[in-house]
């Protein structure tokens, strides 16, 4: 869904209008909102949960939630797609953190599978979104470890301890990569006036 800024503005205006109508239980608007956003939100859930059944369940819950709570979207404070994405991601992350208590999420075999499939890797995604968002410079400022940790955490929903296992680094190292990486991103994004 990487779009140029003008198209992005148009999309946001359309989605904000649909959300306003959903607030009033307008079913047509709800169907249109689903048509325009479900493949994006499903991709977000599928990446993190890695299993279509679980991702579909989260998607269902999220849209039911959106139907009831569209009124809590405040247009001035976030882009509509950001708000919608946060609903799906929060549910996914809650599930991941619950699962983590029971099992180790990624073993070596799974890791092999993740790398073997032809989907873009988290790092590819981070860099291509940086292209799309014109914040390439900000992502490029990150050191390799920071970039990798942030990409894996963001797209795959890995926690600190999962990152440490996955990257075969001490927990402290991974935590500081994440922390410093985020600090740098913030300074760069805010400095570039891109904060919305």
């Amino acid at each position: 869904m990487a779009l140029d800024p003008e198209k992005q503005r148009q999309r946001s205006a359309i989605l904000a209008d649909l959300l306003a109508r959903v607030t009033l239980f307008d079913q047509q608007a709800f169907a249109e909102l689903y048509r325009l956003t479900s493949s994006h939100l499903y991709a977000v859930a599928l990446r993190i949960l890695r299993e279509s059944g679980a991702a579909e369940e989260v998607l269902q819950e999220s849209y039911v939630n959106i139907w009831h709570h569209a009124g809590s979207y405040v247009a001035a404070k976030s882009q509509p797609l950001t708000w919608l994405t946060s609903i799906v991601r929060n549910r996914c992350l809650d599930q991941m953190r619950r699962r983590e208590v029971d099992t180790v999420t990624i073993d070596d075999e799974e890791q092999g599978m993740m790398l073997a499939d032809d989907r873009p890797t988290p790092m590819d995604l981070l860099l291509s979104s940086a292209d799309a968002l014109a914040v390439k410079g900000c992502v490029e400022l990150l050191e390799a470890g920071q970039k990798q940790a942030i990409a894996l955490a963001f797209y795959q929903g890995l926690s600190h301890s999962e990152l440490a296992r996955h990257l075969r680094q001490p927990l402290g190292t991974v935590k500081s990569w994440v922390r410093r990486g985020l600090e740098r991103l913030k300074a760069c994004l805010d400095g570039a006036g891109l904060e919305r």
């Binding site: 499903y42 039911v64 989907r119 963001f154 797209y155 990152l163």
Partner: protein
């Protein structure tokens, strides 16, 4: 641990949005964000910074069974006897139980008369179970007083409407709750009969968001923002 130290809050909010926090820390920050505006703002700012990164994910169409399943969940509930069943009302009621008990004790403690107060009280809470309004009436009086417990400020082209929710049948409007620019103040609504009668067989009240002038259909059309059970102190 002081979450509200700005630097610490900033780091926690960033990691919350990125998703790396442990379950415990995540839940804790979640709770805090509902109580504390600066926590909510820090999280929102980080969502605005990071979530556009998700735009680069190649879209994936969910299976065709997802949409009908969503509709079933949304409609099935709407059609079953009353629209209110699907609004989290009953869940909200249980959660609001504590708030109600608290409000009741306040009312009982501040009631100066020696005789037991012949009062109906309703604490109206949002989905987050935070009490937003309290409505009360003398059992024999014809006025229902609605008092905000928090800042309640509908958009300028919307108005709040108070509804009586009968055990069966459609909600009945009790009136509009007009707000000024500084939010909702104290509102007094006239009842058609003494409260004990007018609200007989009404287990709960709810507030919905409606177009200015109130619901055009006579039934709630907007989202239900607050609801609560009627407590009868007689």
């Amino acid at each position: 641990m002081n979450y509200l130290d700005p630097e610490r809050l900033e780091a926690l909010a960033a990691q919350y949005v990125l998703g790396t926090l442990s379950r415990l820390a995540r839940d804790r920050l979640d709770r805090l964000s509902r109580e504390n505006e600066s926590v909510a703002t820090a999280i929102r700012m980080w969502q605005n910074r990071l979530l556009p990164l998700a735009d680069s994910l190649p879209p994936v169409d969910p299976s065709a069974r997802v949409w009908p399943a969503i509709l079933r969940r949304v409609h099935g509930q709407r059609e079953s006897s009353s629209i209110w069943a699907n609004l989290g009302l009953w869940r909200g009621l249980t959660l609001a139980g504590f708030a109600t008990a608290l409000a009741l004790s306040v009312i009982l403690l501040t009631s100066r008369s020696e005789a037991p107060p012949e009062t109906l009280v309703v604490v109206l809470a949002g989905q987050d179970a935070r009490p937003a309004l309290v409505a009360s009436a003398d059992r024999l009086g014809r006025v229902l007083t609605v008092k905000p417990l928090a800042v309640v400020q509908p958009a300028s082209d919307r108005i709040l409407q108070l509804w009586a929710l009968p055990g069966q049948g459609n909600p009945r409007s009790l009136g509009l709750l007009p707000a000024s620019t500084s939010g909702l103040g104290l509102v007094r609504l006239d009842l058609p009969a003494p409260a004990g009668q007018a609200l007989q067989n009404i287990p709960a009240l709810a507030v919905s968001l409606e177009p200015l002038g109130g619901s055009p259909t006579g039934l709630p059309t907007g989202p239900v923002l607050y609801s609560g059970p009627i407590q009868r102190l007689y």
